[in-house]
């Protein structure tokens, strides 16, 4: 039976198991929107901006492990997706983005709402397609899902000219065969053996776990590796939740705003086991001074990640879960080490560092400290909440003070650092997990970057909670200005606009505010009780900074710490 391109597309999506699409309609994509209008199996969630749609699909994907699907129109609809696609690309998130395109005949003619989205999105997608023939459509869509979700995942875009979705062809269901795309899943056994030997020989080993652990679903295998060999684990921003944050072997996050003891351990280690991470500059600091005494084992599915930034002694290309399964077996069965004995001195040393500089902040009775809000959220939820963040101080405090014990509970734009990510991502996660508590930890700057999605949350009756750490500044930039630009706060002061409580109410959401530390708990408790979208405006200390901090380009053990409180007060007066 002949079907239109739009019908083929919808049928293919159903067979791929798609239940939700995030999108925004427009002229050339109407063939598909019309079909989805009364479809029983696929729900289309209308966002209020295409960027919001992509972030929502991204939050959906991160919280479930399934690919997020986006449907937008041509021209501006398509270009508005770029920030979202680049965000997903940097963090290896599987998305399939469908963009409308002007009819094939008009492509290249500067037609109304035409943009060369295949050209524009090329560097920030894993792959992209211009579907020129309706007979190729089901194959292209199947390939797109395959490419997006396998190997190192990533976003794939399919551009759909209007005539292709309108013209007819027989429905086909071809097998996916891409001769030039064969990700390596099994690690080289000999290399894994070498890694096991090094682990057995090392006295001061550290594991750095990245987002690859979560993508590969290897949290159990990682925990086993750490517990069997008694090696402490530090989790990168993307790796939080890949290893339990409350585990005694957890060192928290490394790098620029990492813990003192994680950075110290890396710098003093004789062996680094890097798992599913890519040595981002925020993790390594000054590269020449990074882990100077360590041999490095690097396990990653993407060969280009290996030896890109740091020297590697044992490179293992493969899927983290499969490699760790083999490695654990070797360590358990072939090695007769007395692991507890071997690590005793090293773990004792790390404990000393932990006591010397714990991850902490100075509590105040008068003003709300943003860290206190994050701690309270952790305490009240007992860690059982999906947390998304915006980007900046809010993101770092959330990463530092919320302990993630399970994977896929943490949604944050790590690589691209996209302000405005957290709220739509929380919406996407809430769609996927209607009964879970989903909280966006936001700043007053970031939340305004996709504030229009309040409508999406309210209309879809999503009980998303947004905790705004409102310091009236672009806090992280202000922090840099204070530390490196002599306190000249160029264009980082946002004043007190808007009134977030009234704004939430204007959209039909609930707005709550806390101005004193004593109000924080009651505001959170009330918000968690309300089955509606809630904005919480926490008026926090404007001058609070994220510590510890490694200045950009410095070695990671050259850290700045919080100053003594009395000194802080003096400086505060001088500036005001």
């Amino acid at each position: 039976m002949k079907m239109t391109g739009a019908e083929i597309l919808v049928e293919t999506l159903k067979r791929e198991g798609v239940k939700h699409i995030f999108g925004y309609p427009g002229g050339v994509i109407l063939n598909i929107f019309d079909l989805l209008y009364d479809d029983k199996d696929i729900q289309l969630i209308l966002t209020r901006h295409e960027q919001g749609a992509v972030h929502a699909a991204d939050g959906y994907a991160r919280s479930t492990g399934k690919p997020g699907v986006v449907l937008v129109t041509s021209g501006p609809g398509a270009t508005n997706t770029i920030t979202g696609i680049a965000t997903a690309s940097m963090d290896s998130i599987p998305l399939v983005v469908f963009s409308g395109q002007v009819p094939t005949m008009l492509i290249g003619n500067d037609a109304f709402q035409e943009a060369d989205i295949v050209g524009i999105s090329r560097p920030c997608t894993k792959y992209n397609y211009l579907a020129k023939d309706v007979r190729d459509l089901s194959r292209i869509i199947r390939e797109a899902f395959h490419i997006a979700t396998t190997g190192r995942p990533g976003p794939v875009l399919i551009d759909l000219p209007k005539d292709v979705t309108a013209s007819k062809a027989d429905f086909t269901w071809p097998e996916v065969k891409i001769r030039s795309y064969n990700p390596t899943y099994e690690g080289n056994r000999w290399m894994i053996q070498q890694a096991a030997n090094l682990i057995a020989k090392s006295k001061r080993a550290v594991i750095i776990a990245g987002g690859g652990v979560i993508i590969s679903g290897a949290h159990k295998e990682l925990k086993e590796l750490a517990e069997v060999t008694n090696i402490p684990v530090t989790m990168t921003l993307m790796g939080l939740g890949g290893f339990p944050g409350t585990h005694p072997l957890s060192l928290g996050m490394p790098g620029m705003h990492g813990t003192y003891y994680a950075n110290k351990s890396i710098q003093e280690s004789d062996l680094l086991i890097a798992i599913g991470m890519r040595f981002d500059d925020r993790v390594t600091g000054k590269i020449d001074a990074f882990a100077p005494h360590a041999k490095i084992i690097h396990i990653d599915i993407d060969p280009t990640s290996i030896r890109k930034n740091v020297r590697v002694d044992i490179p293992i290309v493969g899927d983290v879960k499969r490699v760790l399964t083999v490695l654990n077996k070797m360590l358990r069965e072939d090695m007769k080490e007395q692991w507890d004995e071997v690590r005793k001195a090293w773990l004792r040393q790390i404990d000393l560092w932990r006591q010397e500089r714990p991850m902490t902040y100075t509590y105040s009775d008068d003003v709300i400290k943003p860290q206190f809000v994050v701690e309270k959220i952790f305490e009240l939820t007992k860690g059982d909440a999906i947390i998304s963040t915006e980007v900046g101080q809010n993101q770092m405090w959330a990463a530092q003070f919320f302990k993630f014990d399970r994977p896929r509970m943490w949604l944050t734009s790590g690589g691209l650092g996209t302000m405005g990510y957290g709220f739509p991502a929380a919406i996407g996660a809430q769609i996927a997990h209607p009964n879970k508590l989903v909280i966006d930890i936001a700043g007053d700057g970031s939340i305004q970057m996709n504030i229009q999605e309040l409508a999406t949350a309210v209309i879809n009756k999503l009980p998303v909670k947004v905790a705004i750490l409102n310091n009236r500044y672009l806090g992280m930039v202000r922090q840099w200005q204070e530390l490196f630009f002599a306190g000249r706060y160029s264009h980082t002061h946002l004043e007190v606009v808007p009134d977030f409580v009234k704004l939430a109410e204007a959209y039909g959401a609930v707005g709550l505010r806390a101005t004193k530390p004593s109000e924080v708990e009651s505001v959170l408790k009330e918000a968690f009780k309300i089955k509606k979208t809630v904005f919480m405006d926490f008026v926090v200390h404007w001058k609070e900074k994220v510590f510890p901090m490694v200045p950009a380009g410095a070695p990671i053990d050259h850290m700045l710490f919080e100053e003594k409180p009395e000194k802080e007060e003096k400086k505060l007066k001088a500036v005001k």
Binding site: G119, R122, K126, Y127, L130, S180, P303, T304, R307
Partner: protein, 162 residues
Amino acid sequence: MRHTISLLVENKFGVLSRIAGLFSGRGYNIESLSVGETIDPQISTMTIVTSGDDQIIEQITKQLNKLIDVIKVVDMTELDHVEREMVLIKVAPRQEDKAEVLRLTEIFRGRVVDSSKTTYTIEITGDEKKIEAIIELLKPIGIKEFVRTGKIAIAREGVKKS
């Protein structure tokens, strides 16, 4: 160091821009590039000359391999191989130099493929050194313009580089 990298790629639209984008997005330079169909019309071969230290070349070959449309990547520099380039040179010699141009063409086993009252167009094939040499020799005589194809390379059969 300079490397000659040979690729087998899907013969589809957009492939060239993916490869060019890979280089430009990382600030690597393509010194020469030539593309042509293989015996299988669905596959093209590309020969790219680029330069960089070992780490850069390793990244380039890995990144090329990562591209979905790239089937195979071979760094020819690591193999015993034959490489050739062709140049078309339009020379405008003075009357007294005309014989010299023809003599040089013969020495370099080239051919005159076009001539006018004032110019000869010469075709020369060879490795890079040979092409550079003929250009150097013809320069003082008067080159109007020249066009080079870029390098193509093929591995030698059954020979391992010592």
